[in-house]
Subunit: 133 residues, 2 copies
């Protein structure tokens, strides 16, 4: 009996349309479904990224239990180390400000930026955690 | 140039020690590191679950950009369908209240409960998203 991995990761956004555009157009995630005013669900490899309007997801009476947070969340996405410079260029071309570009002492590198809602996003090589993709 | 998956998922907790005990003892995640008062980092399969004190992680001056949210977040963990009844029993034995046990119309099943900080957690079969673990 073992937890195999993380299947769904959630972020809260103030503008679902802007978030959908950002995550699909800029980061290339695959759109799965949406409920206007409540959520946009995206696929990212073997995982789901769930974007919620915190006020709507915190209402009782949904199929799923209520949740919803205010403030900047944080998610890191796995990318290949060889692609990080291209990502950096691509983000800049999309008008996304690079907040930090960090080479970790133990190896690996992370680029930090924000989504339109202010969530802290990171493109990182999985080697920073000794994880093989 | 492609995002391969989600490497780090974050939740915010009010009591890092209680959260560490819950995620390692009840859910069986592997402890990786901690910074007292700021974070506990856990490994879950190929992913990292990062538990933060929102006040501490929102401070400027850390290695990584500030973030931190208040309110209940949501994470779903992948489990085997054949193990879900054992998980249900295990959670009850650990004193964790099952908030919902839901069989999805399209197949698959989810069990919902809370961590000590009130975050909404889900044990789900990856088939609910057509994902193969």
């Amino acid at each position: 009996m073992k937890v195999r991995g993380i299947l769904e990761t959630s972020l809260y956004v103030d503008d679902l349309s802007a978030a959908k555009a950002f995550y699909t157009d800029v980061l290339g995630l695959a759109f799965v479904s949406r409920q206007p005013g409540r959520h946009v669900f995206l696929r990212c490899g073997r995982h789901m990224l769930l974007l919620f309007d915190a006020h709507a997801s915190a209402q009782a009476g949904n199929e799923t239990p209520p949740h919803g947070a205010e403030g900047a969340g944080h998610v890191a996405f796995s990318v290949e180390e060889s692609e990080l410079n291209d990502w950096r260029r691509h983000l800049k071309e999309c008008g996304v400000k690079i907040e930090r570009d960090f080479a970790w002492p133990q190896g690996g590198r992370s680029i930090y930026f924000r989504d339109p809602a202010g969530n802290s996003l990171e493109l990182a090589t999985p080697s920073i955690w000794g994880v093989v993709n």
